[in-house]
Structures are given as structure tokens and as C-alpha cells.
């Protein structure tokens, strides 16, 4: 299925369920499409906290999420990873509860809970049988204002986070390539820093850093609650007023606009790690959709359709031309996120070359796919397929209450209105082959290119790599 508005920026999840990791990823890959009749009701509490409710009565279940507009985007050098560390500390007790006590309460109510941190936001959620919603309200309102961070609990949890970094990044060559790629394509913008944080920063982080972060961003005025499921909207609003209405708001520090300087000249790096196969990640800076949903619309939607044509399905161009027809690669894909709070985005391509094909050659083949479209355009059938997938995806997403809540929360914390999805299909339909050719010509040139390749190293350091041409 085509992954439109693919929010592929890495999430970090507190949870330890391996399957849950997949689950979150599935949500990220859910087509993100227009819902003409979203039926979302919203209020703003006196302290500035917003509450959005979407009723869905198919099943006696409710999803409750609290989103904070704070993520790694807001971090500063020397304290990278603190947004994610605080997310972990949010489970460590309040003035009136012990560490882990709320997790026990949620579990004993048959609920599932977790949290995740992205570059743009941090979110906490529970899935519960519908009558249990007050548990979530009580817990989230308590830890929004009464969190207790002790040095003792911090010391244990920071070790957990360092283990998470080792597992997620340090021992995974492709994750390391991605980390290097981001730091290369974004030199000034905070998107260049890993969400999990640099190991050195984690090693030197203190519990005071976590407290500082909490006091800076966890004001109700910086939070959005999203409730979806078998609920009565009026009752939810009443409960939200009761639990959150009296939490005092404080002023959130003014955020400075941050923009990456224009790139003049290609950037390349090589990462060495234990691996058998090489790998390439390459990309270009690209525009995102403006927060009004209108500015940059033409280009953002052209890029959105392009990524669908290149990589949306098993029969899309990259897979069809490079894996299936010519066997130049064993895997290829492309990614683009048209939405971001930080106002920056990238169009990226990834690939593992086949035996006897080098990463240099694969880079050339990937670029040729872009050039081919720039020169000859795409077909009407390809455009139509993207539209068909988006329309079907709109219906399929109705099967997931969690998906609906995720969509609302992501859009709103990134600074968009959830209403922008109403025009999504229409905007996709407007994209012409010329629009696509124009964005390729404008943004995909060698001086704006960033490339990171994986140079495979043997597991045994005493052996030298063999058998495959390496490109440096």
C-alpha cells in the first residue's frame, strides 16, 4: 500500500514489547489521507490545553493520548536525548504515587499503555475499555503537574536509555548510517541530532537536566489531549475540565525559527560497521507543507506523489526497475515526509546493491530513475494508481481507532490543523506530471546531494573484507 504523508521520522518508544515496536511502526506507515467527515469536536481549557475528541462506537474501547509539543527538535547541544529521557521519567512516580504505580493501575484495568518521542513531539497513551477512561485522565493530569524525578530513579533509568541506544543504533549498521546521514544533511538544524541523543550526552546527563526539561515544556498550554473511541464527547469534555482545567499554565519559552543554510556542494561520508552487505542512503533537502496547509502545497504534494510512484507499492518504479527487472539491488525504497514542525524535510532513497554491484553504481541507478522522470514524466496510469490507493486507504483507516488518534495528534503538535486532511485527496488529484518534473529539476541536483554508504567490515577484526568491490 502506498505510504502517503509517511511520518517516517524515528519514534522512540518507552515500551519493551517487541511487537509493540512493530505496532507503532504500522501506524507510521498507515496511509494518511483525507477524511471529509472527521466529526472531531474540540475545546480549549482556560489554561490553554486543547482537548480533541473523535467518537467511534464500533467497539467498547477508548484510546487516550496526551501530546506535548516538545521533542528532540527543541533540545540544545550537550543535552541531546533529554526529551526522550524525560518521557521515560514520566513513569517514575508523582508526589502521591510510587514509580511504576500508574503502570500497575492501567494494567489491572486491562489497559495497554506506552509513550513515544519524536523529533517534533512526545506523546503518552493508553488503550482502555471505555468505562476506564477516568484512569487515564487522572494519571495524565497528575504527572503533568506533580512529577517527581529523584536522582536515584534517574540513575537507573538513564542506564536503561543507554541500553536502548546500544540496541537501537549502536549495534545496527543501517541505524548508524541514518544517524550519520542526518548529521550531515542538517548541520545547523536540530533535525541533525539523534532523537535518542549522543551517548556522551546521555553519560553526562543529570536528573536536574530532566527536571529542567519538564519545567520548560510540560505546561498544559503546551499539551493536546486526543480521545478517540466509544465515548460521549460532552462527558469527555466535562472530565477533561475536571482533571486538567485547574492545572496552572506557565509561559513556554519563545522558539526561534531554525533553518538549515542552503547546501552548496554534495556531502559524502562512509560508515564502517560489521556487516556482509553494503548499503546506501542518499537524499536532498526538500520543502514541507506550510503550516497553513496552503503554502508550498504544489511542491509538497508533487513530492508526495513522486514518492508513491517511486516506492509506494511492490510494483513501484524503484522496486520494479532496480530489483525485479534488472536485479541491480536486493532492496530499494524512497521516503519523504511532507509534514514537520521544524519546517525542514528531506527526500531520501535507500538501497542494498546486489552482488557484484557497488554502492557507487547503485547511486547512479537511483539517480537515473529520477532523471528518467525529469526527462520523460510519469504516466497517467501511475498518477491514477496513487489516487486509487489513497482513496482506498481512507476507508481502511476507519478500522483503526488508534490510527485516527495518532493522525490528529501528529498534525496538531506539528502546528497544522487536523482539517488539512480534508483536502488531501483533492490535492493529490491536482498533481500533474509537470509538477513532478519541476520538483525533481529544482531540488534534486548534485550540489544538494548527501550520500552515506555502509562499508561492511568482517565480524572478526583480524580478517580483511573480501569478495565485493568497495566504493569509498
Amino acid at each position: 500500500m502506498v505510504n502517503y504523508l509517511l511520518l517516517y521520522k524515528l519514534f522512540l518508544i518507552k515500551g519493551l514489547h517487541v511487537n509493540f515496536l512493530k505496532l507503532i511502526f504500522i501506524f507510521c506507515l498507515t496511509p494518511f489521507f483525507a477524511q471529509a467527515e472527521q466529526n472531531i469536536q474540540e475545546i480549549t481549557l482556560k489554561n490553554g490545553m486543547r482537548v480533541l475528541v473523535k467518537e467511534d462506537h464500533r467497539s467498547p474501547v477508548v484510546v487516550s493520548m496526551v501530546w506535548y509539543r516538545a521533542g528532540s527538535l527543541d533540545e540544545v547541544n550537550g543535552k541531546t536525548g533529554v526529551a526522550h529521557v524525560l518521557e521515560h521519567m514520566m513513569f517514575k512516580g508523582t508526589k502521591t504515587t510510587k514509580p511504576g504505580e500508574y503502570s500497575e493501575i492501567v494494567a489491572a484495568a486491562g489497559g495497554r499503555e506506552n509513550a513515544f518521542t519524536g523529533a517534533d513531539y512526545t506523546a503518552y497513551f493508553q488503550r482502555l475499555e471505555k468505562s476506564k477512561l477516568p484512569i487515564s485522565m487522572k494519571m495524565e493530569s497528575d504527572r503533568m503537574q506533580n512529577l517527581v524525578i529523584t536522582e536515584e530513579e534517574f540513575k537507573k533509568e538513564i542506564s536503561v536509555v543507554m541500553e536502548e541506544r546500544r540496541w537501537r543504533t549502536d549495534d545496527k549498521p543501517k541505524a548508524q548510517v541514518n544517524e550519520l546521514f542526518n548529521s550531515l544533511i542538517f548541520r545547523a538544524h536540530p533535525y541533525g541530532r539523534p532523537i535518542v541523543g549522543w551517548m556522551n550526552d546521555l553519560q553526562n546527563m543529570t536528573y536536574e537536566d530532566a527536571i529542567e526539561w519538564y519545567k520548560m515544556w510540560y505546561s498544559p498550554s503546551n499539551a493536546i489531549m486526543v480521545i478517540a473511541g466509544d465515548v460521549d464527547t460532552k462527558k469527555v469534555f466535562a472530565e477533561a475540565r475536571k482533571y486538567f482545567g485547574k492545572i496552572p499554565a506557565y509561559e513556554i519559552a519563545k522558539r526561534k525559527p531554525q533553518f538549515e543554510p542552503i547546501q552548496n556542494g554534495s556531502r559524502r561520508a562512509v560508515l564502517k560497521a560489521p556487516s556482509k552487505l553494503p548499503y546506501i542512503q542518499m537524499g536532498y533537502p526538500t520543502p514541507t507543507l506550510g503550516k497553513d496547509g496552503i503554502s508550498n502545497q504544489k511542491e509538497a504534494f508533487a513530492l508526495e506523489v513522486l514518492v508513491g510512484i517511486l516506492s509506494g507499492t511492490s510494483a513501484s518504479r524503484l522496486n520494479q526497475n532496480l530489483v525485479k527487472k534488472t536485479s541491480k539491488a536486493v532492496n530499494v525504497s524512497a521516503g519523504y515526509s511532507m509534514l514537520s514542525r521544524g519546517g525542514q524535510s528531506t527526500f531520501e532513497m535507500y538501497g542494498t546493491p546486489s552482488e557484484k554491484v557497488s554502492v557507487v553504481e547503485l547511486e547512479k541507478y537511483l539517480k537515473l530513475e529520477l532523471k528518467n522522470i525529469a526527462d520523460n514524466g510519469v504516466t497517467d496510469i501511475e498518477l491514477k494508481r496513487v489516487i486509487t490507493s489513497v482513496i482506498a486507504g481512507k476507508v481502511y483507516q476507519k478500522d483503526s481507532v488508534m490510527g485516527a488518534a495518532m493522525q490528529i495528534g501528529q498534525l496538531e503538535t506539528m502546528g497544522y490543523s487536523y482539517n488539512i486532511v480534508d483536502d488531501y485527496i483533492d490535492n493529490i488529484k491536482k498533481v500533474t506530471t509537470k509538477d513532478i518534473q519541476d520538483v525533481i529539476k529544482k531540488y534534486f541536483h548534485d550540489d544538494a546531494l548527501t550520500v552515506v554508504t555502509l562499508d561492511p567490515q568482517p565480524l572478526d577484526k583480524n580478517k580483511t573484507p573480501k569478495g565485493r568491490p568497495h566504493a569509498h
Binding site: M1, G15, L16, V18, N19, K22, R58, S59, P60, V61, F91, P99, G100, S103, E104, A107, A108, G110, G111, R112, E113, R127, L128, E129, K132, K156, I158, S159, V160, V161, E163, R166, W167, D170, D171, P274, S275, K276, L277, T313, A315, K324, S327, V330, T352, S354, E355, R385, T388, S389, I391, A392, V395, Y396, K398, D399, S400, P456, L459, K461
Partner: protein, 430 residues
């Protein structure tokens, strides 16, 4: 690929129980296929899943990976329609075709708008009945399998998981890597795929689950169409018994930052009367996420790992009980000691009354969450269908959970979980 398959299995295990109110219609086709139908017109969507007893347990050692490759090749061209056209025909309908595969089963699922269901179902039927098994594509996909296998040989999690299954199952098919080995994949040819398909895709071993916006008459028609294309063959091929008696202690070096530890033994198969008791007990020991004993001891009290878990994974034959953790290399021995202590205390004393109450509250109170979408209903009922669970399994579930006592959990763990027979695999040990 191996790792991916295991993750999918865990997902199914954890989504194991469902709403009592689910109205499952069941019938058998005249050639023995079992059909499960849940009619629901809330959304204009139809979901279909079919499973065959054609998982990697049907592999022979010299050609391991054949079952997986057959499953994989079945969606790459059918009925003379080439791979690209077939994929595009589904896309043009807005329909989604997916394949799934694990030790026991080979499955295919279709999600379609109900407005397009008849065209989409015809395409699915073509995929199931007339795989092309095109020689050129087989050649290409074999190379991709080999690339993936050689890459997984460098990844500590894959190495550990493969070594663990080998330690538990030896030459038994459950000990073979699901996606095969470089050597075995190289040997597979077109005829092998055709023969495997002919011998293992049988109507009497087929379960079909249909969920959503479709009438009973249409569901019967579609089930007939699908099952009629497969031969009925009440074969004698029995899955070999698991013969495990020699625990192993395996250490494999790796330049990774973390060591990966797996610890456990083959314990239980599907349909075992102790399963629900062990499942509830394991929630307390290591299955219950943040609130399990293992997570408390390893993560919350000591900060030793991001993830530690335990689970029973029952197969048709005896499946593993497995504990897993990743931790910094110099902490792995400490972690192992704490895991051993935690498990042995649990076996010795069983759960506390409070732990048992909380576990039951979780299972019973969270019951509706297990079936809150057509997708989750499809996955759950497909598992029930494949393993031939009784139809009232869901209706009686909460009741049966409620009756389990602490003494029964202790007794089941003492009878079934013998730590002296556990094997250990550590990849990245110093």
C-alpha cells in the same frame, strides 16, 4: 527474515484472546476446508485470510527454506499474469494482498473495499490456485534470500535466535532456519516449489476466515471457490516429535556493544490443557510488560536492559518457552543470574495473591481490546481456526481465566518448566 517471522508469531500469541460476543459462523466445505465467517457491515471493507499447514515445519534439512520460498513466490505472478501486472491489478482495485509465514503455517490475506470484492476475490483465487513459479523470478528471489541470509549472519539478534532454535530442536524441522540456509536455498528448483505446493496446499488443511461487509451467501460462494481449487489429501505425514533432552550452553563472540541472551527449552504445544494456566502465570513472570517480575528486577530495579521478556510459543508440536534480553556485554552474567533467580523463585513459590488478582484483572478487564477492529478479529480468529480451537473458546475465555488458582499456576510451572533443562545462548559474550 527469520527475526521478522518470529516477531509476527509473538504478535499473534499476545493477541490471543477475544470478545465473547463475537458471532462466528462456522462450516466445512465438501472437501474438508474449515470456514469461519464474521459478518459485520459497519465498514465497507472485506478481510479474508487463508492459512495452510505449509510452514517451515514441512521443510527437509537439505532443502530448508523451500516452504518459505513457496509462500513468497505465490504472490509473484499467477495464472499466466506476470508479477508486475498482478501487483498492479490489486492496486487498481485499491485492494491489498499480503502473505505471512511461520514455523507451522503459510498464509495469505486480502483486504478489499466491499464495492470491489468480487474482482478482488477472483484475483485472490487466481493467486492461490495458479502460481506461475516463473523460473527467472525464482532465480532472482533465491539470490535475494541468500543476500538476506548472509546479512542476517552478521546480526547478533539473528545469530542468537538461530542458535537458540538449533540448541532446542537440533535436527527437528523447528530447528531449521525458516528462510533456509545459503546451501539449501541454492539447491531449490522450480520443480521443488511445484511439488511442495501440490503436496502441502490441501483443502483438508485449509482454514478460511472472512470478516466484514459480505453476506453469508457470498461468503459461502467465495469459500467454495477457494477450497474447490485444492486437492483433498488426508496424508499421513506427521510432524516428528520433539526430542529434547540435552541442554546446551552456547557462547558466540561478536563485536557488538550488547550481548544477546536467550534462555529456555521446548515446553508446550497447541491445545495443551496447561496452556492457559502457564500463559496467565507467564504474564506475571515476564509477559506483562512494565509490570512483570522480570522487568521489575532487570529494568526497573537495576536499569540493566531496555527489554527483557519471557513467553510460551506453542506450535503444532512442542514449542519453546523463551526468555530474552539484550544488555551491555559486561552486564550479561549479572543479568543471567538475576533472571535465573527470578524464574526459580517463581517456579518454587508461584504468584502472590495480589499478583494473581492483577493478572486476572488485566486479562478480563482488557478483553474488549483484543478484538477492537476487523483486522484484529481476522488475526485472532485465523489463529483459532488454524489450530482448531473450539468455537466457544472466546465465550468461555474469561471464565476459565477467572477460575485459575495460584496453586494451579505453581503446580503447572513445577510440572512443566524445568530449569535444569534450559539451554542458554549468548551472542556477544566477552
Amino acid at each position: 527474515m527469520h527475526i521478522k517471522i518470529i516477531l509476527i508469531s509473538i504478535l499473534l500469541l499476545l493477541s490471543n484472546f477475544a470478545s465473547a460476543a463475537l458471532n462466528i459462523q462456522y462450516w466445512k466445505s465438501n472437501n474438508g476446508a474449515r470456514i469461519y465467517f464474521i459478518e459485520n457491515h459497519d465498514l465497507p471493507i472485506v478481510d479474508i485470510n487463508v492459512d495452510f499447514r505449509a510452514g517451515s515445519v514441512m521443510d527437509m534439512k537439505q532443502k530448508s527454506g523451500l516452504a518459505s520460498l513457496t509462500n513468497h513466490m505465490m504472490v509473484l505472478g499467477s495464472g499466466g499474469i506476470n508479477e508486475e501486472d498482478l501487483a498492479n491489478q490489486f492496486i487498481d482495485l485499491g485492494a491489498q494482498l499480503n502473505s505471512s509465514f511461520d514455523q507451522d503455517k503459510s498464509g495469505f490475506s486480502l483486504r478489499t473495499l466491499s464495492a470491489k470484492k468480487s474482482e478482488a476475490i477472483d484475483l485472490l483465487t487466481l493467486v492461490l490456485h495458479k502460481p506461475n513459479f516463473d523460473s527467472q523470478i525464482i532465480k532472482r528471489e533465491k539470490k535475494r534470500y541468500i543476500a538476506s541470509i548472509t546479512q542476517s549472519e552478521t546480526m547478533p539478534e539473528s545469530i542468537a535466535s538461530k542458535a537458540f532454535m538449533k540448541a532446542l530442536y537440533g535436527e527437528h524441522p523447528y530447528g531449521l532456519p525458516s528462510s533456509g540456509e545459503v546451501k539449501s536455498i541454492k539447491k531449490i528448483n522450480k520443480k521443488d516449489l511445484q511439488d511442495f505446493y501440490k503436496n502441502n496446499y490441501l483443502s483438508n488443511e485449509l482454514s478460511v476466515v472472512i470478516v466484514g461487509d459480505i453476506s453469508r451467501a457470498e461468503a459461502e460462494d467465495l469459500a467454495y471457490k477457494i477450497s474447490a481449487g485444492f486437492p483433498e489429501n488426508k496424508r499421513d505425514k506427521v510432524i516428528p516429535l520433539v526430542n529434547y533432552n540435552k541442554p546446551q550452553d552456547i557462547k558466540i563472540s561478536h563485536p557488538s556493544k550488547q550481548a544477546h541472551l536467550y534462555y529456555g527449552a521446548p515446553i508446550i504445544k497447541r491445545g495443551d490443557p496447561d496452556f492457559l494456566t502457564l500463559y496467565l502465570g507467564n504474564y506475571i513472570l515476564g509477559g506483562g510488560g512494565f509490570v512483570s517480575r522480570l522487568t521489575q528486577e532487570i529494568r526497573e530495579n537495576r536499569g540493566l536492559a531496555y527489554s527483557v521478556y519471557s513467553y510460551f510459543m506453542p506450535y503444532i508440536e512442542v514449542g519453546p518457552f523463551q526468555i530474552g534480553i539484550q544488555t551491555k556485554k559486561d552486564q550479561v552474567n549479572e543479568a543471567k543470574k538475576i533472571i535465573k533467580k527470578t524464574v526459580s523463585e517463581f517456579i518454587k513459590n508461584g504468584p502472590s495473591p495480589n499478583e494473581l488478582k492483577r493478572a486476572k484483572d488485566f486479562m478480563i478487564g482488557g478483553f474488549p481490546l483484543r478484538l477492537d477492529s476487523n483486522k484484529s478479529i481476522l488475526a485472532y480468529v485465523s489463529m483459532m481456526a488454524f489450530y482448531k480451537y473450539p468455537l466457544d473458546y472466546l465465550e468461555t475465555f474469561t471464565n476459565r481465566i477467572d477460575k485459575i488458582t495460584a496453586e494451579e499456576i505453581k503446580s503447572a510451572f513445577q510440572r512443566r518448566v524445568d530449569m535444569s533443562k534450559f539451554s542458554t545462548v549468548i551472542v556477544g559474550s566477552e
